[in-house]
């Protein structure tokens, strides 16, 4: 208990960074992943190909490698000087959006074919069909797997700790220098993550209940 209470500010700031990393990357990858999914079902074959290529490459690359690239290669591009935390957010979003894309696409596939056919029969074009008929219905079906993807994202934020971002995964190194037993520190960090995951699971359940009733 001492390791936690003596260093409460450190734990709080670590988890604040974690939650911050999570929220920004989650928002970015939801947007970018949905755009990718739209590309992958679009009528233009080359755009479909681009979406597929992105998803295939990113899904088969370890997140740690993506991090390595953004930490060491990005400065060489000499665009804007970004902090480590921002680069970690970019790496997490690039990686997670490929998974979000796949979830959204599988959600689009669960919408009955008649919906799209009816929309087309009414004269809606591709953008209208997707935007006002298919996606709103698909989003309901994908809520549970989407939350699993986001929970995975939350856990993946710990990798940023290996690349000089002072988030929850990095608490261990700081307290080890101060002489606290590492197992205790790590156990408290684990408890923190379990609590965060529980919150997300609760959100998931609420969505599931509300939207299964609406259907």
């Amino acid at each position: 208990m001492g390791a936690l209470l003596d260093n409460l500010p450190l734990f709080l700031s670590g988890f604040r960074t974690t939650v911050w990393l999570f929220l920004v990357s989650a928002a970015a990858s939801l947007v970018f992943g949905t755009i990718l999914a739209m590309l992958r079902v679009s009528p233009v074959p080359i755009l479909r190909g681009i979406g597929t290529l992105y998803v295939t490459v990113v899904r088969n690359t370890p997140l740690t490698l993506v991090f390595l690239f953004f930490i060491f290669a990005y400065p060489l591009l000499k665009i804007v000087d970004l902090s480590y935390a921002v680069r970690a957010m970019v790496a997490l979003s690039v990686y997670t959006s490929a998974f979000v894309c796949e979830v959204v696409r599988s959600g689009i596939n669960t919408v009955p074919v008649g919906q799209a056919e009816a929309a087309r029969a009414l004269g809606l074009n591709f953008g209208q069909t997707l935007g006002s008929v298919i996606l709103p219905q698909a989003m309901r079906a994908v809520a549970p797997p989407m939350m699993s993807t986001l929970i995975a994202l939350l856990k993946n934020t710990t990798i940023a700790a290996g690349f000089s971002v002072a988030e929850a995964g990095a608490i261990r190194a700081v307290l080890a220098d101060k002489g606290y037993p590492q197992m205790v520190t790590l156990a408290w960090v684990a408890v923190g993550f379990i609590l965060l995951v529980m919150v997300l699971t609760l959100v998931q359940r609420t969505f599931e209940k509300r939207w299964s009733r609406a259907r």
């Binding site: 740690t64 390595l68 290669a73 997670t96 069909t129 993807t149 790590l186 993550f193």
Partner: protein, 288 residues
């Protein structure tokens, strides 16, 4: 589904689509071109930065690093499958205490980030007096995390089977174990196989986390070579010029190839399964 989202394009739509295609390709080409140009400008594609790969020693070490990655993957995969099978059986048990304990363990290890688990084994256990090699820490972390994900996959797969299957088997007078081994598992395994393999791809990718606890796998080696400017005696020095981008590219290609091979296997199995009408879609999804 994707082909019902839009009508077959007429002449005007085709022209418009061609325009979109040109714009899309131009945007991607500009983006990739910019990155390549900037990297080339900073000398990352200069021949001298790629010479490291020609040394026999480097090639051998690289192969050894791939071997280490695969070693962690192989043992981790086998143990995770075993762990998953045992705890899935536990969660499906008729005895409530067994169910509760198995459920608790699975939910616990699913909620803790894999990196924190590896830290616990590598940095935490020695403070309790247990020595741990980086290899064992990586393997144990992979086993516990992916094993509990796999346990959920197994459980979902077995519960997705029609109830009549087990009822019929019990009616024939089979025991619990017989029902599970002879009736439920063979059917469930076929629907679960693609999901299991995509979880194994996740496991393979996660071996790269070993880099952060000093396990000498592929990514670790890339970082090592990438940080070398020169080495050897002063009179016979060999220059690598810190080729971090070249090593990242090479290692990335190796990872993608390895994972794609596994993914291809999963896709092939999925296709074969689709031909078999009796089996329904896979129940659960792999977790990132």
């Amino acid at each position: 589904m994707s082909n019902v989202l839009f009508d077959i394009p007429g002449p005007r739509a085709r022209v418009r689509h061609r325009l979109y295609a040109v714009l899309g390709v131009a945007a991607v080409a500009a983006f990739v071109g910019f990155i390549v140009w900037r990297l080339a400008e900073s000398g990352e594609f200069a021949a001298r930065k790629w010479e490291w790969i020609q040394y026999k020693q480097v090639q051998e070490d690289l192969a050894a690093a791939v071997g280490n990655t695969l070693r962690a993957f192989a043992l981790g995969a086998v143990l995770a499958l075993a762990f998953g099978a045992v705890f899935a059986a536990g969660r499906l048990s008729d005895h409530k205490p067994v169910r509760v304990v198995a459920g608790f363990v699975v939910e616990l290890f699913r909620a803790i980030p894999l990196l924190i688990l590896m830290f616990m084994f590598y940095y935490g256990l020695p403070t309790l007096g247990v020595r741990m090699s980086p290899y064992m820490a990586v393997v144990l972390g992979l086993t516990l995390y992916n094993g509990s994900v796999l346990a959920e996959v197994f459980r979902a797969g077995i519960q997705a089977l029609p109830k009549g299957q087990s009822e019929a088997a019990y009616a024939l007078g089979m025991r619990k174990t017989q029902v599970m081994v002879l009736i439920l598992l063979p059917q469930a395994l076929r629907t679960m196989l693609p999901t299991i393999i995509s979880q194994l791809v996740v496991l393979l990718k996660d071996t790269a986390l070993g880099f952060l606890i000093t396990y000498e796998e592929l990514l670790n080696y890339a970082r090592y070579i990438g940080s070398i400017y020169a080495f050897g005696d002063l009179d016979s020095q060999i220059f690598f010029y810190r080729p971090i981008i070249p090593t990242t590219i090479v290692v990335g290609a190796i990872y993608i190839t390895l994972c794609l091979l596994l993914t291809l296997l999963a896709n092939r199995l999925q296709k074969r399964q689709r031909r078999n009408r009796k089996i329904q879609a896979a129940p659960a999804e792999a977790v990132v």
